[in-house]
Assembly symmetry: C2
Homo-oligomer: 358 residues x 2
Amino acid sequence: MRTLRLALEGRGYPIHIGDGLLARGELYAPHIRRRRLLVVSNQRILSLYQTQLQSAIGEFESVLIPDGEGAKVLTTLEQIVRQLLERRYGRDSVLLALGGGVVGDITGFTAACYQRGIAFIQLPTTLLAQVDAAIGGKTGVNHPLGKNMIGAFHQPLAVIADTSTLHTLPEREYRAGLAEVIKYGLIRDVGFVDQLEATMAALGARQPQAIAAAVERSCRNKLEVVMEDEREQGTRALLNLGHSFAHAMENAQNYRGLLHGEAVAVGICMAARLSADMQLLSGVAVERIHRLIEAAGLPCTVPAGLSAARLRECMAVDKKASVGVLRLVLLEDIGRAVVVQDVHETLLMDCLRACGAS
Amino acid sequence: MRTLRLALEGRGYPIHIGDGLLARGELYAPHIRRRRLLVVSNQRILSLYQTQLQSAIGEFESVLIPDGEGAKVLTTLEQIVRQLLERRYGRDSVLLALGGGVVGDITGFTAACYQRGIAFIQLPTTLLAQVDAAIGGKTGVNHPLGKNMIGAFHQPLAVIADTSTLHTLPEREYRAGLAEVIKYGLIRDVGFVDQLEATMAALGARQPQAIAAAVERSCRNKLEVVMEDEREQGTRALLNLGHSFAHAMENAQNYRGLLHGEAVAVGICMAARLSADMQLLSGVAVERIHRLIEAAGLPCTVPAGLSAARLRECMAVDKKASVGVLRLVLLEDIGRAVVVQDVHETLLMDCLRACGAS
């Protein structure tokens, strides 16, 4: 097991990474003594890990939410709050988010809002959640008009990332998580890109040591950024490489097409291409990025049926758009991302079309 | 005009109190330069103050929400967010909450959640909002199972309390606000109780100087408590004198009977009686409190049709109840409140019945 520590002014919490951690009671104990617990999860994930969790924290109460991005809405929050109130959970209760990014985001936001804020612990069981969603305190739900538009910054008491859970992930979901892993290398850690190129076959085969190394280095990159800029006033925005494009595609597909990580993979390719079109990045670097994304088994082009005009429209409501000005994260080099405000509309539309939008 | 300042670590904001402030542009200017504004209000209030507000900030965009406590729900938040997204409001926008406690609470909570937090300004137009709801950063909405159960601590950029708006308040609503004014005296400022006893006739007649003095002294008491304990870890809980009882009555009536301030008045009388029953407070003091509440034209007894059993049930889900343990704010003296955990069930039920519950 490796333990990283996310330190924020006056606060801080551990991020434990390793095989078999869900069952290790001593990781929970410092945070939950005598406090009432509620596990939030979905049916499929809870049935997989119920036994491990019980051996760590004993018999527990739980609330199940539906699977998938469609559950990440205010009505789910209202349902969890209903359970909390009906079962008389007080302010000193602790929520445990057992699952992927959707479970973590909605559980964290419910914890942020219930009685104006209670504690929670992240137990991420997907690659995407372990390297990204569960780290850094961003929580929230989607609005019909935009992703993650309603939310809060609310840090957990701890993150317990059991890497053995990744072995039961569906192949497509596992590979989707690799997009966020690659992202960290591209924005700020060129050595990590080298490492990923060397170990992508082992990662694809879910070789435990390769997974542990990739999760740890991803988390280390993420927490360094979050410690610098918790509230995304500046550098934290760089973590959104590919995400303005990705959110637009997901939104245009009503969250029923690409997985988030797949959309991020396409978005990264778009950002790379646009960076090259703006003379920020070399064609060789763009090629290298494409090869890495493809080696991870991820898509590089926009799915059929999405028009450039529709994507552009969805991009306009993205959080990164400030008073109508579009801000995009682009690449100056592999390992060096930058926020760009003055993207020419024509270049942007050409790029969307070149990447497969109709 | 008087200006108080609420100072919190690293942050702080002004609370302006006086006649005619809504129209004074220089009070808004430091907070809104070049930022996009959205006024949240309801039809009745906006039509009363549109002209004043325009003279301060120019033509403005607005979103109207329904009147009354029934609007303080997640679906209203979702509707305001829809307007923000459709009109492309970015992260640097500012919401202006023009109205009473409901408008302030829901606008503040929407600001807390929209894109994980944007700024807002409180423009309270009721006595209750000016002395209580708009001060201190508590925001939120109701859940069908309990009041203010979903919310956030989110401080405004400024509070602009125009006391001339109180002259247009319906009589019942104005008097309801006096309950929170009296509360400050009872929990921590015996000199204020003396002052209120001496000026209650003038206050009832809405004499401007009496109003200004009462609003200012109330705000001063509130902000002193909030500066000591922003997140209600300790002393801020004392501000809830009478509120556990009040929330239970409001909830049992589905928010369609007593106004909040009226419920607080009854709740204060209950707390006083229970304090005497527990030998904390003298019968003389209880009498004095009753006289003051009655002089303000406020009720002292539970409305017909509410049973002690139902009220007790509603009290169990109150936020002040921790893991099933009921915590109540009681009085040790006039001007000295205390949190009590070990209230005997029989004493409590007897008190509810003695105060008129069936």
